[in-house]
């Protein structure tokens, strides 16, 4: 059996030594497939923290208010299938079926710092899944419509009149929902004209203008 003779290595020309190191490394890197994975940016702990705050959920009233006021920063994203989207969608919504969420066509829409993206689905589940995935990829400014379309139908488009013993806020909320529902094509057609919409002014999270990721410049 032959042992490595270090004197022999010392006597070797630098070029040979370099080749002995570089060529195997080159062979390895040429043979392995390229790493094209899209890595998660948040750790499990960080995501759990964010999930616990439930800050991603937007109250339907806040969204309805923005819709009625035609807030340009709002972008509704329907994560249901294209069929369902064509049957019914919220005004101005765009369709990104959850199956295509990671398609590069949509990266510019989902990973941006100017608009407020609000995912919605029938319930909350699918929209929240979309939020979790985009959040783990490190994207900001994505939110979830709380309660989804089901809640939206029941409470924004067809609000129930509160009982006469309810507190004033309930009535204010009802009035706002009714007017918003009418403006957004709902069925609440009873005659009374609602005047104010205090409830709609529910806190709306502002878009964080975080610095766009800059590539580091370099030079010789």
């Amino acid at each position: 059996m032959k042992y490595i003779n270090f004197e022999q290595i010392n006597d070797m020309k630098p070029l040979k030594l370099l080749a002995m190191f570089l060529i195997p490394m080159g062979l390895i890197i040429a043979a392995v497939p390229q790493n094209k994975t899209n890595p998660y940016k948040l750790t499990a702990d960080e995501l759990l923290n964010e999930v616990n705050t439930r800050n991603q959920f937007l109250a339907p009233d806040a969204v309805a208010d923005m819709l009625v006021k035609k807030d340009p920063s709002l972008r509704l994203i329907d994560v249901r299938s294209q069929e369902e989207f064509e049957k019914y969608s919220l005004p101005g919504a765009i369709n990104i079926p959850i199956a295509n969420l990671l398609s590069p066509d949509y990266t510019d829409i989902l990973n941006q710092e100017t608009k407020m993206n609000v995912f919605y689905s029938n319930g909350t589940l699918t929209a929240n899944e979309a939020w979790m995935i985009t959040r783990q990829l490190g994207y900001n400014n994505n939110y979830v419509l709380e309660g989804g379309l089901n809640y939206w139908f029941e409470n924004i488009l067809n609000p129930r009149q509160p009982s006469s013993t309810s507190p004033d806020e309930e009535f204010a909320k009802y009035d706002f929902r009714k007017s918003a529902g009418q403006a957004l094509g709902g069925g609440g057609l009873s005659a009374q004209q609602a005047s104010d919409n205090q409830a709609g002014a529910a806190a709306k999270p502002s878009v964080k203008p975080a610095a766009k990721k800059k590539k580091a410049a370099g030079g010789c």
Partner: protein, 196 residues
């Protein structure tokens, strides 16, 4: 994980501090490789000394292998690493000017500071010329702007242009570099110079 600054793992200021230390290390390596001597540097054009080719190409290949392996291990996102945008016309013209200046002056911009740091007068004169060029270009920029911005190609990579993986191109580059080193060492023997 990486790159550290774009992913905001380190602040912009920390980034500059790291660059400062890396710069000092770079200068030290240049000096200890003999890059502060214009005669040694110019040797690459006459064949008697190929240290420029060897040091810079070894550096480039080492960095390339490092980046490719770090990307493989998921340590760095190569999409966030800056690639110089290519303006073909100005790249060719700039390359010719830089090459001519290198042959005549015996320095490239980085090595001239290296030479000046150890008191070489020719390096200081070179730096003077460098500043005249920089200011001359800046003040007459409107004259050149159209040519400067011509033939914009984006950020092309040779590997994607040739339709091969980055790793495959890396291997070819390593083989090409070793071939060049071999030729360079042959040239050093063929065109020797006694003292320079």
């Amino acid at each position: 994980m990486g790159p550290l600054a774009p992913n905001e793992i380190i602040s912009e200021n920390t980034n500059f501090l790291l660059a400062f230390f890396i710069g000092i290390a770079f200068g030290w390596v240049l000096e200890s490789s003999g890059f502060s001597s214009s005669r040694k540097l110019a040797g690459i054009f006459y064949g008697y000394d190929a240290v420029v080719l060897k040091v810079f190409f070894t550096g480039a290949i080492t960095a390339m292998l490092g980046l490719l392996f770090m990307s493989l291990f998921g340590w760095i996102d190569l999409d966030l690493v800056y690639v110089n945008p290519t303006y073909l016309t100005s790249a060719i013209i700039g390359g010719v000017i830089m090459g001519a200046g290198f042959i005549m002056g015996g320095f490239c911009p980085g090595t001239s500071f290296c030479g000046a740091a150890i008191g070489k007068i020719d390096a200081m004169v070179f730096i003077g010329g460098l500043f005249i060029g920089v200011y001359g270009f800046a003040f007459t920029y409107p004259w050149w702007e159209k040519m400067y911005m011509a033939k914009y190609l984006g950020e092309p990579k040779i590997s994607t242009t040739l339709g091969m993986s980055d790793g495959m191109f890396g291997l070819l580059l390593i083989i090409a570099a070793l071939g060049m080193f071999f030729v360079a060492e042959w040239a050093e023997k063929k065109f020797p110079r006694e003292a320079y």
